[in-house]
Amino acid sequence: MAYHKPTYLFLFLPILLLIYQIAPRKFRRGVLLGAGYLFFWSISGKLVLYLIGTTIFTHYIGICLELQESRKKKRLVLAGGVLLLLGVLGYLKYYNFFAENISRMLEAAGSGMIIPARHLLLPIGISFYTLQAISYIADVYWKKIPAEKNLMKLALFLGFFPQIMEGPISTYGQTAEAIFRCDPLRLENLSSGAVRILWGLFKKIVIADRLYTLVQAVFDNHENFGGVIVFIAATAYTAQLYMEFSGCIDIVIGSARMFGVKLPENFRQPFASRNAAEFWRRWHITLGEWFKAYVFFPVSVSGPVKKWNRYGRKKFGKYITKAGASAMALFPVWLGNGLWHGARWSYIFFGMYYFAVLMAGIMAEPVRNKIIKTLHINEDASWFKALQIGKTWIIIIIGEMFFRANGLRAGIQMFQSMFGRPSGNLMTLGLDTADYVVILYGCAVVGLVGILRERNLLDGHMLRNLKLPVRWAIYYGLILAVLIFGAYGVGYQQVDLIYAGF
């Protein structure tokens, strides 16, 4: 089961809504929790025990934290809790990666020792619910929230069915209360949730699944392609990833909305960003917020960074000190971000790529400001904004190319071949003219909606305020677009959700 599949949309969700509505209020929490575990079980089977185990452990750590009087003991409990949660994630997700690489190093050093690989199964969504569990423990430690005494409430927070596969990663303060409240279904929530789901399906099935064909054809046979076609494929993958991930999040947010739960947004027109730092404030927002709150800031106020700030100010001046402190706080964030996506060198490279880009931005800031001042450039001028957005697109597309490439070596080869002799033909990549037309029109519609949102001309209430015939014309238009232009049938594959694999 996955959020874009008929089993979820036409069976799981409607039946759940029905049971939820007819169940007495006091049983609704049980219905939602059962639905979460059933959803999890339908994908990962008995590995649902990991989620249940994590919930019980997190609950216990939260209460332990509150019971401790001394700060030292609190710190120990926090460290123990975080390390165990990360330990389980690390073991299941990265054991084989490190075993393989250590074995290779030992082999290169002449040692015959090999660390054997293990057959490890990864529970669905472990990377998402583990981060939520850590945020809960840290928030209790920082006294932002009290420890939750009710195990059911914490279980609902960690096992809320729409968030299991791809997030968004929420903090306890953001969603726990609304999920636990179990409000009765309301027509307003049902209709706005359904429209959001429809919008997500449009992005996923009409655009992303079509682009998948082109992307797969080039990335899986990259040796046969060169020049502009590699850049087009990298651009297509960036668009595919956005349409798919944001489309899935639309379905997730729409599903939660039907039950009266408002989940945090994960995207805010990322392609309108004027630099890489802004892009990461608009793309996968909840992951960025998590790293900021639970890695960047704790490292920023740690002893070594504070010591560096004092030492650097005396010895090297403001500029070097700020750059050094930023590097110390950003490095673990981007190493973590890369590794979070999976145990592959290309993901580590992806993280380090953004670390380098952001550091370059910080280092170049004084020079950039000086140039702008000297040349009297109006930073709000359209041409300047367009230039900045274009530059950011190139940074993003190159980053996503390495992210998608079949290994780091393939990524480097593709990057080099982009500047080589053009080879390959767009019409032999599994898509015909009609497909390209649908993709272009689809992207134009999504782009137009993005522009309207960016200019605050479109919000959730606006659709409701439209005249009935106009509103229904939009609904039918979306339904028909998904039904007629959706990429299914002969020649298309059911494409799994990319972020569910993380």
Binding site: W142, K292, V301, K306, N309, R310, K318, K322, A325, A329
Partner: protein
């Protein structure tokens, strides 16, 4: 004992072209970015003898001179 003026001196040291007293959205409007906050933390700790923990790193505590000052006085009371 360092006063609120010391805080203004610290902020002016970051950028003296900003009228810090007038700003009410230092973090929200990105006048003060995360990287400036990192260096600001050490300066505040040295000047006021407080310890600023990660839990304090929220926009509400850094959005204006008054907000920063409120945080400092609150942390001083804890000492």
């Amino acid at each position: 004992m360092n006063t609120k003026d010391t805080l203004l001196d610290i902020l002016n040291d970051i950028d003296d072209s900003i009228d810090w007293k007038e700003q009410k959205g230092l973090v929200d409007e990105r006048i003060l970015d995360s990287f400036c906050v990192i260096t600001l933390i050490s300066d505040l700790e040295d000047a006021y003898g407080v310890e600023i923990e990660a839990a304090e790193m929220i926009p509400e505590n850094f959005n204006s001179v008054d907000a920063i000052w409120d945080m400092i006085t609150r942390l001083q009371e804890k000492l």
